[in-house]
Protein backbone atom coordinates (compact mmCIF):
# COMPACT_ATOMS: atom_id res chain seq x y z
CA UNK A 1 0.00 0.00 0.00
CA UNK A 2 1.56 3.23 -1.10
CA UNK A 3 1.23 6.42 0.89
CA UNK A 4 0.15 9.61 -0.76
CA UNK A 5 3.66 11.02 -0.47
CA UNK A 6 5.15 8.01 -2.17
CA UNK A 7 2.62 8.30 -4.94
CA UNK A 8 3.42 11.97 -5.50
CA UNK A 9 7.09 11.13 -5.63
CA UNK A 10 6.64 8.36 -8.15
CA UNK A 11 4.43 10.53 -10.35
CA UNK A 12 7.11 13.22 -10.33
CA UNK A 13 9.89 10.81 -11.23
CA UNK A 14 7.85 9.51 -14.11
CA UNK A 15 7.34 13.05 -15.39
CA UNK A 16 11.05 13.77 -15.09
CA UNK A 17 11.89 10.65 -17.05
CA UNK A 18 9.55 11.69 -19.83
CA UNK A 19 11.09 15.17 -19.81
CA UNK A 20 14.60 13.84 -20.40
CA UNK A 21 13.48 11.36 -23.04
CA UNK A 22 11.80 14.18 -24.94
CA UNK A 23 15.08 16.12 -24.83
CA UNK A 24 16.91 13.25 -26.49
CA UNK A 25 18.63 11.70 -23.52
CA UNK A 26 18.83 7.95 -22.93
CA UNK A 27 17.74 6.81 -19.49
CA UNK A 28 20.36 4.60 -17.89
CA UNK A 29 18.99 4.07 -14.39
CA UNK A 30 15.97 4.88 -12.28
CA UNK A 31 16.29 4.92 -8.48
CA UNK A 32 19.79 3.52 -8.58
CA UNK A 33 20.95 2.39 -5.17
CA UNK A 34 24.30 1.46 -3.73
CA UNK A 35 24.33 0.62 -0.03
CA UNK A 36 22.73 3.68 1.54
CA UNK A 37 23.28 6.06 -1.36
CA UNK A 38 20.74 6.60 -4.09
CA UNK A 39 20.24 8.61 -7.26
CA UNK A 40 16.77 9.28 -8.64
CA UNK A 41 17.64 9.37 -12.32
CA UNK A 42 20.72 8.76 -14.46
CA UNK A 43 20.54 9.88 -18.09
CA UNK A 44 23.08 10.35 -20.84
CA UNK A 45 23.72 11.83 -24.27
CA UNK A 46 26.90 11.68 -26.40
CA UNK A 47 28.74 14.34 -24.39
CA UNK A 48 27.63 13.97 -20.80
CA UNK A 49 26.21 11.75 -18.14
CA UNK A 50 23.55 13.43 -16.03
CA UNK A 51 22.74 12.61 -12.42
CA UNK A 52 19.37 14.00 -11.54
CA UNK A 53 17.61 14.56 -8.24
CA UNK A 54 13.85 14.81 -8.64
CA UNK A 55 11.84 16.73 -6.10
CA UNK A 56 8.06 16.66 -6.28
CA UNK A 57 5.67 18.66 -4.16
CA UNK A 58 1.89 19.02 -4.27
CA UNK A 59 2.06 22.66 -3.29
CA UNK A 60 4.77 25.26 -2.71
CA UNK A 61 3.69 26.54 0.69
CA UNK A 62 6.82 25.08 2.29
CA UNK A 63 9.22 26.52 -0.27
CA UNK A 64 10.37 25.70 -3.76
CA UNK A 65 11.14 22.01 -4.15
CA UNK A 66 14.74 22.66 -5.26
CA UNK A 67 15.55 24.24 -1.91
CA UNK A 68 15.24 20.81 -0.35
CA UNK A 69 18.36 19.49 -2.00
CA UNK A 70 20.58 20.31 0.96
CA UNK A 71 24.39 20.43 0.91
CA UNK A 72 24.49 17.04 2.64
CA UNK A 73 22.17 15.57 0.05
CA UNK A 74 24.33 17.07 -2.68
CA UNK A 75 27.45 15.54 -1.19
CA UNK A 76 25.80 12.14 -1.05
CA UNK A 77 24.60 12.32 -4.64
CA UNK A 78 28.14 13.20 -5.71
CA UNK A 79 29.55 10.27 -3.76
CA UNK A 80 27.02 7.93 -5.33
CA UNK A 81 27.74 9.30 -8.80
CA UNK A 82 31.46 8.78 -8.26
CA UNK A 83 30.88 5.11 -7.46
CA UNK A 84 28.56 4.65 -10.44
CA UNK A 85 31.06 6.18 -12.85
CA UNK A 86 33.90 4.07 -11.51
CA UNK A 87 31.88 0.81 -11.53
CA UNK A 88 30.69 1.33 -15.09
CA UNK A 89 33.96 2.84 -16.40
CA UNK A 90 32.23 5.88 -17.87
CA UNK A 91 34.54 8.44 -19.41
CA UNK A 92 32.09 11.24 -20.10
CA UNK A 93 31.85 14.52 -18.16
CA UNK A 94 29.37 14.33 -15.30
CA UNK A 95 26.66 16.89 -14.67
CA UNK A 96 24.30 17.25 -11.73
CA UNK A 97 20.74 18.42 -12.36
CA UNK A 98 17.72 19.10 -10.20
CA UNK A 99 14.25 18.64 -11.64
CA UNK A 100 11.66 20.30 -9.48
CA UNK A 101 8.02 19.32 -10.06
CA UNK A 102 4.93 20.91 -8.57
CA UNK A 103 1.66 19.01 -8.83
CA UNK A 104 -1.01 21.52 -8.02
CA UNK A 105 -4.30 19.83 -8.94
CA UNK A 106 -4.56 20.18 -12.72
CA UNK A 107 -1.44 22.33 -13.04
CA UNK A 108 1.85 20.50 -13.33
CA UNK A 109 4.98 22.61 -13.55
CA UNK A 110 8.40 21.16 -14.34
CA UNK A 111 11.44 23.28 -13.46
CA UNK A 112 14.72 21.88 -14.86
CA UNK A 113 17.93 23.19 -13.25
CA UNK A 114 20.89 21.82 -15.21
CA UNK A 115 24.32 21.92 -13.54
CA UNK A 116 22.61 22.86 -10.29
CA UNK A 117 25.58 21.90 -8.12
CA UNK A 118 29.20 20.84 -8.43
CA UNK A 119 31.75 19.13 -6.21
CA UNK A 120 33.85 21.57 -4.13
CA UNK A 121 37.63 21.79 -3.92
Amino acid sequence: MKTETQETGQKGEHLAEEYYRKKGYDILEKNWRHNHLEIDLIATNEKEIVFCEVKTRSNISFGEPEAFVTPTKQKNIIRAANIYVKLNRINKDARFDIVSITLDGEHTSINHLPDAFQPRW
Binding site: A81, V85, R89, I90, N91, Q118
Partner: protein, 513 residues
Protein backbone atom coordinates in the same frame (compact mmCIF):
# COMPACT_ATOMS: atom_id res chain seq x y z
CA UNK B 1 45.85 13.04 -18.18
CA UNK B 2 48.59 14.51 -16.03
CA UNK B 3 50.13 17.91 -16.71
CA UNK B 4 52.77 19.89 -14.80
CA UNK B 5 52.97 23.69 -15.04
CA UNK B 6 55.32 26.21 -13.45
CA UNK B 7 54.74 29.30 -11.32
CA UNK B 8 56.26 31.04 -8.30
CA UNK B 9 55.57 31.87 -4.67
CA UNK B 10 57.06 34.93 -2.94
CA UNK B 11 59.33 34.43 0.06
CA UNK B 12 60.80 37.63 1.44
CA UNK B 13 62.09 39.60 -1.52
CA UNK B 14 62.60 36.69 -3.86
CA UNK B 15 60.52 34.10 -5.65
CA UNK B 16 60.69 30.33 -5.28
CA UNK B 17 59.43 28.03 -8.02
CA UNK B 18 56.18 26.17 -7.48
CA UNK B 19 55.08 23.27 -9.69
CA UNK B 20 51.37 22.81 -10.24
CA UNK B 21 50.35 19.29 -11.19
CA UNK B 22 46.86 18.52 -12.48
CA UNK B 23 45.55 15.03 -13.07
CA UNK B 24 42.14 14.43 -14.71
CA UNK B 25 40.70 10.92 -14.71
CA UNK B 26 37.45 8.99 -14.56
CA UNK B 27 35.41 9.71 -11.49
CA UNK B 28 33.80 12.69 -9.89
CA UNK B 29 35.23 15.11 -7.36
CA UNK B 30 37.92 17.75 -6.95
CA UNK B 31 40.92 17.55 -4.70
CA UNK B 32 43.26 20.49 -4.14
CA UNK B 33 46.32 19.62 -2.08
CA UNK B 34 49.62 21.29 -1.19
CA UNK B 35 48.55 23.55 1.69
CA UNK B 36 46.49 26.08 -0.30
CA UNK B 37 45.09 29.03 1.65
CA UNK B 38 41.51 30.34 1.46
CA UNK B 39 42.21 32.63 -1.49
CA UNK B 40 43.35 29.65 -3.57
CA UNK B 41 40.43 27.50 -2.42
CA UNK B 42 38.05 30.27 -3.47
CA UNK B 43 39.55 30.36 -6.94
CA UNK B 44 37.36 27.45 -8.05
CA UNK B 45 34.45 29.85 -8.57
CA UNK B 46 36.56 32.42 -10.38
CA UNK B 47 38.10 29.80 -12.66
CA UNK B 48 34.78 28.07 -13.33
CA UNK B 49 33.00 31.29 -14.26
CA UNK B 50 35.89 32.72 -16.27
CA UNK B 51 36.14 29.51 -18.28
CA UNK B 52 32.40 29.27 -18.84
CA UNK B 53 32.29 32.87 -20.04
CA UNK B 54 34.91 31.99 -22.62
CA UNK B 55 33.35 28.79 -23.87
CA UNK B 56 35.25 26.27 -21.75
CA UNK B 57 34.57 24.60 -18.40
CA UNK B 58 35.98 22.66 -15.51
CA UNK B 59 35.27 19.06 -16.56
CA UNK B 60 32.95 16.89 -14.50
CA UNK B 61 35.60 14.29 -13.81
CA UNK B 62 37.92 13.44 -10.94
CA UNK B 63 40.47 16.24 -10.78
CA UNK B 64 43.44 16.14 -8.45
CA UNK B 65 45.53 19.30 -8.19
CA UNK B 66 48.80 19.26 -6.32
CA UNK B 67 50.90 22.37 -5.57
CA UNK B 68 54.47 21.24 -5.02
CA UNK B 69 56.52 21.42 -2.80
CA UNK B 70 53.63 20.17 -0.73
CA UNK B 71 54.89 21.39 2.64
CA UNK B 72 55.11 25.10 1.86
CA UNK B 73 51.92 27.11 2.42
CA UNK B 74 50.64 28.53 -0.85
CA UNK B 75 48.95 31.87 -0.65
CA UNK B 76 47.17 34.44 -2.76
CA UNK B 77 45.06 34.59 -5.85
CA UNK B 78 47.93 34.79 -8.34
CA UNK B 79 47.68 31.09 -9.21
CA UNK B 80 44.22 31.40 -10.86
CA UNK B 81 45.48 31.68 -14.42
CA UNK B 82 47.92 28.82 -14.05
CA UNK B 83 45.32 26.49 -12.55
CA UNK B 84 42.82 27.34 -15.27
CA UNK B 85 45.26 26.63 -18.09
CA UNK B 86 46.48 23.45 -16.42
CA UNK B 87 42.92 22.18 -16.05
CA UNK B 88 42.16 22.94 -19.71
CA UNK B 89 45.21 21.09 -20.95
CA UNK B 90 44.81 18.13 -18.58
CA UNK B 91 41.21 17.65 -19.68
CA UNK B 92 42.33 17.94 -23.30
CA UNK B 93 40.05 20.89 -24.03
CA UNK B 94 43.06 22.69 -25.49
CA UNK B 95 46.49 21.70 -26.78
CA UNK B 96 49.79 22.89 -25.40
CA UNK B 97 51.06 19.94 -23.43
CA UNK B 98 54.64 20.31 -24.66
CA UNK B 99 54.99 24.08 -24.37
CA UNK B 100 53.21 25.01 -21.17
CA UNK B 101 56.05 24.15 -18.77
CA UNK B 102 58.47 26.51 -20.58
CA UNK B 103 56.79 29.51 -18.97
CA UNK B 104 55.99 30.81 -15.50
CA UNK B 105 52.27 31.56 -15.63
CA UNK B 106 50.76 33.88 -13.01
CA UNK B 107 47.67 36.05 -12.73
CA UNK B 108 44.41 36.54 -10.88
CA UNK B 109 41.24 35.93 -12.90
CA UNK B 110 38.17 38.12 -13.06
CA UNK B 111 34.82 36.47 -13.74
CA UNK B 112 34.92 37.51 -17.40
CA UNK B 113 38.39 36.08 -17.92
CA UNK B 114 40.26 39.40 -17.68
CA UNK B 115 43.41 39.46 -15.59
CA UNK B 116 44.06 41.34 -12.35
CA UNK B 117 47.63 42.44 -11.48
CA UNK B 118 49.86 40.41 -9.15
CA UNK B 119 52.61 41.31 -6.65
CA UNK B 120 56.27 40.51 -7.04
CA UNK B 121 56.53 40.54 -10.84
CA UNK B 122 60.20 41.58 -10.72
CA UNK B 123 61.42 38.86 -8.31
CA UNK B 124 59.48 36.31 -10.39
CA UNK B 125 61.13 37.50 -13.59
CA UNK B 126 64.55 37.32 -11.91
CA UNK B 127 63.80 33.72 -10.87
CA UNK B 128 62.66 32.87 -14.41
CA UNK B 129 65.97 34.00 -15.81
CA UNK B 130 67.88 32.14 -13.10
CA UNK B 131 66.06 28.90 -13.96
CA UNK B 132 66.49 29.54 -17.68
CA UNK B 133 62.77 29.48 -18.41
CA UNK B 134 61.70 30.57 -21.87
CA UNK B 135 59.62 33.37 -20.39
CA UNK B 136 56.73 34.43 -18.21
CA UNK B 137 53.04 34.96 -18.92
CA UNK B 138 51.51 37.52 -16.58
CA UNK B 139 48.93 40.35 -16.42
CA UNK B 140 49.67 43.25 -18.79
CA UNK B 141 49.72 45.71 -15.87
CA UNK B 142 52.83 43.99 -14.48
CA UNK B 143 54.62 43.41 -17.78
CA UNK B 144 56.74 46.57 -17.73
CA UNK B 145 58.09 45.71 -14.32
CA UNK B 146 58.99 42.17 -15.35
CA UNK B 147 60.56 43.41 -18.58
CA UNK B 148 63.34 45.03 -16.58
CA UNK B 149 64.88 41.54 -16.70
CA UNK B 150 66.40 40.69 -20.06
CA UNK B 151 66.93 37.29 -21.70
CA UNK B 152 63.39 36.08 -21.05
CA UNK B 153 60.18 36.57 -23.03
CA UNK B 154 57.77 38.76 -21.09
CA UNK B 155 54.25 38.10 -22.37
CA UNK B 156 51.72 40.49 -20.85
CA UNK B 157 48.09 39.47 -21.33
CA UNK B 158 44.76 41.14 -20.62
CA UNK B 159 42.40 38.19 -20.97
CA UNK B 160 42.65 34.43 -20.56
CA UNK B 161 41.55 34.00 -24.16
CA UNK B 162 44.98 35.24 -25.32
CA UNK B 163 46.69 32.55 -23.26
CA UNK B 164 44.28 29.86 -24.49
CA UNK B 165 44.88 30.79 -28.14
CA UNK B 166 48.63 30.97 -27.51
CA UNK B 167 48.79 27.36 -26.37
CA UNK B 168 45.94 25.91 -28.41
CA UNK B 169 46.48 27.58 -31.78
CA UNK B 170 49.95 29.08 -31.42
CA UNK B 171 48.66 32.64 -31.79
CA UNK B 172 51.60 34.79 -30.65
CA UNK B 173 51.39 37.22 -27.72
CA UNK B 174 53.22 40.55 -28.08
CA UNK B 175 56.45 40.59 -26.08
CA UNK B 176 57.02 43.51 -23.71
CA UNK B 177 60.54 44.84 -24.06
CA UNK B 178 61.97 47.66 -21.95
CA UNK B 179 65.37 49.23 -22.42
CA UNK B 180 66.11 49.56 -18.71
CA UNK B 181 69.21 51.72 -18.88
CA UNK B 182 67.62 54.13 -21.32
CA UNK B 183 64.42 54.51 -19.32
CA UNK B 184 66.37 54.86 -16.13
CA UNK B 185 68.62 57.59 -17.49
CA UNK B 186 65.67 59.38 -18.96
CA UNK B 187 63.50 59.61 -15.86
CA UNK B 188 64.07 63.08 -14.45
CA UNK B 189 63.32 63.78 -10.84
CA UNK B 190 60.85 66.52 -10.29
CA UNK B 191 61.13 67.76 -6.73
CA UNK B 192 58.21 69.29 -4.97
CA UNK B 193 60.18 71.30 -2.40
CA UNK B 194 63.42 73.24 -2.68
CA UNK B 195 66.05 74.29 -0.15
CA UNK B 196 65.96 77.80 -1.55
CA UNK B 197 62.73 78.37 0.40
CA UNK B 198 64.59 78.02 3.69
CA UNK B 199 66.26 81.17 5.00
CA UNK B 200 69.34 81.00 7.21
CA UNK B 201 69.71 77.78 9.26
CA UNK B 202 73.14 77.16 7.77
CA UNK B 203 74.19 74.58 10.33
CA UNK B 204 71.18 72.39 9.63
CA UNK B 205 71.63 72.66 5.91
CA UNK B 206 75.24 71.65 6.39
CA UNK B 207 74.17 68.64 8.51
CA UNK B 208 71.66 67.60 5.87
CA UNK B 209 74.25 67.91 3.16
CA UNK B 210 76.58 65.64 5.10
CA UNK B 211 73.77 63.19 5.87
CA UNK B 212 72.71 63.07 2.22
CA UNK B 213 76.27 62.66 0.96
CA UNK B 214 77.12 59.73 3.22
CA UNK B 215 73.70 58.25 4.00
CA UNK B 216 74.03 59.10 7.71
CA UNK B 217 71.27 59.27 10.32
CA UNK B 218 70.15 62.64 11.57
CA UNK B 219 68.04 64.07 14.40
CA UNK B 220 66.66 67.58 14.55
CA UNK B 221 65.78 68.90 17.99
CA UNK B 222 64.16 72.27 18.38
CA UNK B 223 61.14 74.29 19.50
CA UNK B 224 57.87 74.14 17.60
CA UNK B 225 57.81 76.15 14.39
CA UNK B 226 61.56 76.32 14.02
CA UNK B 227 61.46 74.58 10.66
CA UNK B 228 62.29 70.94 11.44
CA UNK B 229 59.54 69.35 9.35
CA UNK B 230 60.02 71.95 6.61
CA UNK B 231 63.69 71.06 6.29
CA UNK B 232 63.07 67.33 6.43
CA UNK B 233 60.59 67.56 3.56
CA UNK B 234 63.27 69.14 1.47
CA UNK B 235 65.76 66.38 2.05
CA UNK B 236 64.75 64.30 -1.02
CA UNK B 237 65.66 67.23 -3.25
CA UNK B 238 69.33 66.94 -2.35
CA UNK B 239 69.64 63.15 -2.30
CA UNK B 240 71.73 61.66 -5.08
CA UNK B 241 69.78 59.67 -7.70
CA UNK B 242 69.56 55.90 -7.29
CA UNK B 243 72.19 53.79 -9.02
CA UNK B 244 70.91 50.98 -11.22
CA UNK B 245 71.65 48.28 -8.64
CA UNK B 246 70.04 50.33 -5.85
CA UNK B 247 66.99 50.84 -8.06
CA UNK B 248 66.69 47.10 -8.64
CA UNK B 249 66.86 46.37 -4.90
CA UNK B 250 64.25 49.01 -4.11
CA UNK B 251 61.93 47.93 -6.92
CA UNK B 252 62.00 44.31 -5.73
CA UNK B 253 60.92 45.32 -2.23
CA UNK B 254 58.13 47.60 -3.42
CA UNK B 255 56.97 44.91 -5.84
CA UNK B 256 56.70 42.28 -3.13
CA UNK B 257 54.78 44.71 -0.93
CA UNK B 258 52.32 45.37 -3.76
CA UNK B 259 53.29 49.04 -3.96
CA UNK B 260 54.12 49.16 -7.67
CA UNK B 261 51.56 51.09 -9.67
CA UNK B 262 50.20 49.51 -12.83
CA UNK B 263 52.37 49.58 -15.93
CA UNK B 264 55.26 51.06 -13.95
CA UNK B 265 58.82 49.93 -14.45
CA UNK B 266 61.99 50.47 -12.42
CA UNK B 267 61.67 52.85 -9.46
CA UNK B 268 63.99 55.81 -10.08
CA UNK B 269 63.31 58.09 -7.10
CA UNK B 270 64.67 57.43 -3.62
CA UNK B 271 61.81 56.38 -1.33
CA UNK B 272 60.84 58.88 1.39
CA UNK B 273 58.66 57.17 3.98
CA UNK B 274 57.06 59.22 6.73
CA UNK B 275 54.71 57.02 8.76
CA UNK B 276 52.39 58.51 11.37
CA UNK B 277 53.37 57.99 14.98
CA UNK B 278 50.49 55.58 15.64
CA UNK B 279 52.28 52.93 13.54
CA UNK B 280 52.60 49.45 15.05
CA UNK B 281 55.96 47.70 15.35
CA UNK B 282 55.01 45.04 12.82
CA UNK B 283 54.09 47.69 10.27
CA UNK B 284 57.37 49.48 10.95
CA UNK B 285 59.73 46.56 10.86
CA UNK B 286 57.87 43.95 8.82
CA UNK B 287 56.28 40.63 9.58
CA UNK B 288 52.79 39.28 9.89
CA UNK B 289 51.89 35.63 9.24
CA UNK B 290 52.60 36.21 5.56
CA UNK B 291 55.92 38.07 5.71
CA UNK B 292 55.57 41.60 4.36
CA UNK B 293 58.25 44.26 4.27
CA UNK B 294 57.77 47.03 6.84
CA UNK B 295 58.34 50.76 6.51
CA UNK B 296 62.06 50.37 7.16
CA UNK B 297 62.39 48.03 4.19
CA UNK B 298 60.21 50.23 2.02
CA UNK B 299 62.66 53.01 2.92
CA UNK B 300 65.62 50.88 1.77
CA UNK B 301 68.07 53.07 -0.18
CA UNK B 302 65.93 56.03 0.85
CA UNK B 303 64.81 57.98 3.90
CA UNK B 304 62.66 57.05 6.89
CA UNK B 305 61.43 60.25 8.51
CA UNK B 306 59.84 60.09 11.97
CA UNK B 307 58.38 63.44 12.93
CA UNK B 308 57.53 64.04 16.60
CA UNK B 309 59.80 61.22 17.68
CA UNK B 310 58.63 61.40 21.30
CA UNK B 311 55.08 60.56 20.27
CA UNK B 312 55.98 57.10 18.98
CA UNK B 313 55.48 54.16 21.32
CA UNK B 314 58.76 53.44 22.99
CA UNK B 315 58.59 49.79 22.09
CA UNK B 316 58.06 50.61 18.43
CA UNK B 317 61.21 52.72 18.39
CA UNK B 318 63.21 50.07 20.20
CA UNK B 319 62.52 47.42 17.55
CA UNK B 320 64.43 49.63 15.13
CA UNK B 321 67.69 49.41 17.06
CA UNK B 322 68.95 46.20 15.52
CA UNK B 323 68.03 47.05 11.91
CA UNK B 324 69.68 50.47 12.32
CA UNK B 325 72.89 48.67 13.07
CA UNK B 326 72.70 45.62 10.81
CA UNK B 327 70.95 47.29 7.87
CA UNK B 328 68.60 44.35 7.46
CA UNK B 329 65.82 42.75 9.45
CA UNK B 330 65.23 39.04 9.94
CA UNK B 331 61.66 38.07 10.64
CA UNK B 332 61.33 34.74 12.37
CA UNK B 333 58.05 32.91 12.51
CA UNK B 334 57.35 29.30 13.40
CA UNK B 335 57.41 28.17 9.79
CA UNK B 336 60.13 30.29 8.24
CA UNK B 337 62.83 32.93 8.56
CA UNK B 338 62.83 35.75 6.09
CA UNK B 339 65.41 38.51 5.80
CA UNK B 340 64.46 41.85 4.32
CA UNK B 341 67.06 44.50 3.46
CA UNK B 342 66.71 47.72 5.49
CA UNK B 343 69.55 50.08 4.70
CA UNK B 344 67.94 53.48 5.11
CA UNK B 345 68.71 57.00 6.26
CA UNK B 346 66.98 57.60 9.57
CA UNK B 347 65.82 61.19 10.05
CA UNK B 348 63.95 62.24 13.16
CA UNK B 349 62.54 65.48 14.51
CA UNK B 350 61.48 66.30 18.04
CA UNK B 351 60.96 69.04 20.62
CA UNK B 352 63.55 69.34 23.40
CA UNK B 353 60.99 69.34 26.21
CA UNK B 354 57.21 69.23 26.80
CA UNK B 355 56.73 73.00 26.44
CA UNK B 356 59.12 73.00 23.52
CA UNK B 357 61.18 76.01 24.50
CA UNK B 358 64.30 74.61 26.17
CA UNK B 359 67.29 76.54 24.81
CA UNK B 360 65.03 78.98 22.98
CA UNK B 361 66.87 82.29 22.64
CA UNK B 362 63.85 84.37 23.61
CA UNK B 363 61.09 82.30 25.20
CA UNK B 364 61.89 80.80 28.60
CA UNK B 365 61.34 77.11 29.22
CA UNK B 366 58.50 76.49 31.66
CA UNK B 367 59.37 72.88 32.41
CA UNK B 368 60.15 71.92 35.98
CA UNK B 369 63.32 70.48 37.47
CA UNK B 370 64.44 67.25 35.82
CA UNK B 371 61.53 67.31 33.36
CA UNK B 372 63.74 68.06 30.38
CA UNK B 373 66.04 65.17 31.27
CA UNK B 374 63.06 62.87 31.60
CA UNK B 375 61.61 64.00 28.29
CA UNK B 376 64.75 63.32 26.37
CA UNK B 377 65.08 59.92 28.01
CA UNK B 378 61.92 58.91 26.15
CA UNK B 379 64.35 58.25 23.36
CA UNK B 380 66.54 55.51 24.74
CA UNK B 381 70.30 55.88 24.92
CA UNK B 382 70.95 52.99 22.53
CA UNK B 383 68.73 54.57 19.89
CA UNK B 384 70.38 57.99 20.25
CA UNK B 385 73.72 56.25 20.02
CA UNK B 386 72.86 55.06 16.51
CA UNK B 387 72.12 58.53 15.20
CA UNK B 388 75.20 60.05 13.59
CA UNK B 389 74.30 63.73 13.47
CA UNK B 390 72.54 65.65 16.23
CA UNK B 391 71.39 69.10 15.25
CA UNK B 392 69.87 71.69 17.46
CA UNK B 393 67.40 73.75 15.47
CA UNK B 394 66.99 77.29 16.71
CA UNK B 395 64.19 79.46 15.36
CA UNK B 396 65.10 82.41 13.18
CA UNK B 397 64.88 85.87 14.67
CA UNK B 398 62.25 88.13 13.08
CA UNK B 399 65.11 90.06 11.56
CA UNK B 400 66.51 87.01 9.85
CA UNK B 401 63.08 85.85 8.79
CA UNK B 402 62.24 89.07 6.97
CA UNK B 403 65.63 90.28 5.81
CA UNK B 404 67.76 87.24 5.06
CA UNK B 405 68.23 86.37 1.38
CA UNK B 406 66.92 83.14 -0.08
CA UNK B 407 69.07 80.12 0.51
CA UNK B 408 71.10 78.05 -1.94
CA UNK B 409 68.89 76.12 -4.35
CA UNK B 410 68.73 72.34 -3.92
CA UNK B 411 70.29 71.75 -7.30
CA UNK B 412 73.56 73.37 -6.18
CA UNK B 413 73.69 71.39 -2.93
CA UNK B 414 72.82 68.22 -4.78
CA UNK B 415 75.73 68.66 -7.14
CA UNK B 416 78.14 68.64 -4.18
CA UNK B 417 76.37 65.61 -2.73
CA UNK B 418 76.56 63.74 -6.03
CA UNK B 419 80.28 64.46 -6.33
CA UNK B 420 80.92 63.10 -2.84
CA UNK B 421 78.81 60.03 -3.65
CA UNK B 422 80.77 59.35 -6.79
CA UNK B 423 83.94 59.20 -4.75
CA UNK B 424 82.29 56.66 -2.46
CA UNK B 425 80.93 54.57 -5.33
CA UNK B 426 84.38 54.37 -6.83
CA UNK B 427 85.91 53.46 -3.50
CA UNK B 428 83.47 50.66 -2.77
CA UNK B 429 82.90 49.41 -6.29
CA UNK B 430 84.04 45.87 -5.45
CA UNK B 431 81.39 45.51 -2.78
CA UNK B 432 77.93 44.95 -4.22
CA UNK B 433 75.95 45.95 -1.14
CA UNK B 434 77.87 49.05 -0.17
CA UNK B 435 77.00 52.32 -1.84
CA UNK B 436 77.94 54.95 0.75
CA UNK B 437 80.05 55.60 3.85
CA UNK B 438 77.25 54.85 6.28
CA UNK B 439 77.07 51.25 5.09
CA UNK B 440 80.68 50.19 5.61
CA UNK B 441 81.74 47.58 8.14
CA UNK B 442 84.56 47.70 10.71
CA UNK B 443 87.11 46.21 8.33
CA UNK B 444 86.55 48.87 5.69
CA UNK B 445 86.49 51.50 8.42
CA UNK B 446 90.03 50.55 9.46
CA UNK B 447 91.13 50.66 5.84
CA UNK B 448 89.58 53.91 4.64
CA UNK B 449 89.02 56.06 7.73
CA UNK B 450 92.57 56.46 8.95
CA UNK B 451 93.37 59.45 11.17
CA UNK B 452 96.72 60.73 12.42
CA UNK B 453 97.86 60.85 16.05
CA UNK B 454 96.65 64.39 16.62
CA UNK B 455 93.25 63.31 15.39
CA UNK B 456 93.29 60.33 17.73
CA UNK B 457 93.96 62.68 20.68
CA UNK B 458 91.11 64.90 19.62
CA UNK B 459 88.77 61.96 19.42
CA UNK B 460 89.90 60.56 22.73
CA UNK B 461 89.23 63.90 24.46
CA UNK B 462 85.81 64.07 22.94
CA UNK B 463 84.98 60.54 24.03
CA UNK B 464 85.97 61.33 27.60
CA UNK B 465 84.28 64.71 27.68
CA UNK B 466 81.02 63.56 26.12
CA UNK B 467 80.94 60.01 27.43
CA UNK B 468 80.71 58.46 23.96
CA UNK B 469 80.57 54.74 23.23
CA UNK B 470 82.71 52.69 20.85
CA UNK B 471 79.82 52.68 18.41
CA UNK B 472 79.78 56.48 18.50
CA UNK B 473 83.53 56.40 17.83
CA UNK B 474 83.00 54.36 14.65
CA UNK B 475 80.17 56.55 13.49
CA UNK B 476 82.12 59.76 14.04
CA UNK B 477 84.87 58.35 11.84
CA UNK B 478 82.37 57.58 9.09
CA UNK B 479 80.91 61.07 9.24
CA UNK B 480 84.42 62.53 9.17
CA UNK B 481 85.08 60.43 6.07
CA UNK B 482 82.02 61.93 4.40
CA UNK B 483 83.04 65.46 5.36
CA UNK B 484 86.45 64.80 3.84
CA UNK B 485 84.82 63.48 0.66
CA UNK B 486 82.68 66.60 0.41
CA UNK B 487 85.85 68.67 0.69
CA UNK B 488 87.47 66.53 -1.99
CA UNK B 489 90.19 65.47 0.42
CA UNK B 490 91.80 62.03 0.30
CA UNK B 491 92.77 62.12 3.98
CA UNK B 492 90.69 62.95 7.00
CA UNK B 493 92.02 66.17 8.50
CA UNK B 494 91.49 67.36 12.04
CA UNK B 495 88.99 69.97 10.92
CA UNK B 496 86.88 67.24 9.33
CA UNK B 497 87.10 65.28 12.58
CA UNK B 498 86.16 68.23 14.79
CA UNK B 499 83.14 69.00 12.67
CA UNK B 500 82.02 65.40 12.98
CA UNK B 501 82.53 65.46 16.75
CA UNK B 502 80.58 68.71 17.01
CA UNK B 503 77.57 67.01 15.56
CA UNK B 504 77.51 64.53 18.41
CA UNK B 505 77.40 67.07 21.21
CA UNK B 506 73.82 66.38 22.13
CA UNK B 507 74.40 62.97 23.59
CA UNK B 508 72.10 62.38 26.44
CA UNK B 509 74.38 63.03 29.36
CA UNK B 510 74.70 66.73 28.57
CA UNK B 511 71.13 67.52 27.91
CA UNK B 512 69.13 69.18 30.61
CA UNK B 513 72.04 70.02 32.88
Amino acid sequence: MLIKTQSCALMGVSAIPITIEVNVETGINFFLVGLPDSAIKESQQRIDTALKNNGYKIPGKKIVINMAPADIRKEGSAYDLNLAIAILIASEQIKGYDRVSDYYIMGELSLDGNLQPIRGALPIAIEARKRQMKGIILPAQNAHEAAIVSDIEVLGVENIRQVIDFFDKGTPIAKTVVNTREEFQRSLCHYEFDFTDVKGQQNIKRAMEIAAAGGHNLILIGPPGSGKSMLAKRLPSILPPLTLSEALETTKIHSVAGKMSRYSSLISVRPFRAPHHTISDVALVGGGTNPQPGEISLAHNGVLFLDELTEYKRQTLEVMRQPLEDRSVTISRSKYNVTFPASFMFVAAMNPCPCGNYNHPKIPCTCGQGVVQKYLSKISGPLMDRIDLHVEVLPLSTDELTRAPLGEPSAVIRERVVRARKIQEERYKCFSNIHCNAQINTQLLRQYCVINNEGLELLKNAMDRLGLSARAYDRILKVARTIADLAGSENINNEHLSEAINFRSLDRDNWGK
